[in-house]
Symmetry: C2
DNA sequence: AAATAATATTGCAATATTACGATAAATATA
DNA sequence: TATATTTATCGTAATATTGCAATATTATTT
């Protein structure tokens, strides 16, 4: 095979997996951090910041955009990307909830 | 290609990418949630909970374990898995930090 | 309108992931 | 010790991801 059986999982499980997959490559984490660091965020800057060719960066940007983690805006003949806060928050809140539920458990059996 | 250029990124960027990759499949998110829900955490239970064959589940469990998100303990002739809280917290804190830095930015240019 | 600049898309090769049947390994029980 | 039970590993097919050169697209400038 090679394709995952998304039908059998809940919408939330699929959504979290999609968000995580978008961050499952160090280049895409680096893009996120770069967008965080700078106040201008033109695609060309990202290309020169990363050790990857322009088409590769463009592909990574598209994956981040498809997952809703960033959004792009046409700015002259360049494109300005920035972080979509709400989506990052979704993932953060999910993990926060996991930690809360974990702490409210009577036993987390293997944990010493 | 197909292999990512991990050398060119920071340790943190690689670590975050590894954690996210471990959660980049709905089955592995489902495993995490199942471990959260139950107080016993036997591998066989996970297999019967998921719509996947036993070797496939075993493979997903190994990936979660390799990323440090869960740990397994021999329990008779079964194996008891549970969530490694510290690792989940690492990821949650990273995202929390991203959100903080985002809110402290003067401008997040594209965000209306 | 032609040339320039910035980003996206296409096509393709190399590698990784996903899934599972068959089988092995490890432990428990009769 | 033989058998059953549980989980891991191997082998392999199908699909996905990664990376980039070549090229297309879009917008700007001359």
């Amino acid at each position: 095979m090679g394709a995952s059986k998304t039908d059998h999982f809940t919408d939330q499980q699929n959504r979290i997996a999609i968000l995580c997959k978008a961050l499952a490559h160090p280049a895409r984490v680096a893009i996120l951090e770069y967008l965080l660091k700078v106040n201008a965020c033109i695609c060309g800057d990202i290309v020169s910041e990363l050790p990857l060719a322009q088409p590769t960066v463009s592909q990574h940007l598209r994956e981040l955009k498809n997952a809703g983690l960033i959004q792009g805006e046409v700015e002259g003949n360049a494109i300005c990307y920035c972080i979509n806060e709400a989506t990052v928050r979704n993932l953060e809140e999910y993990l926060s909830d996991v930690l809360n539920r974990l702490n409210n458990k009577e036993v987390n059996c293997c944990e010493f």
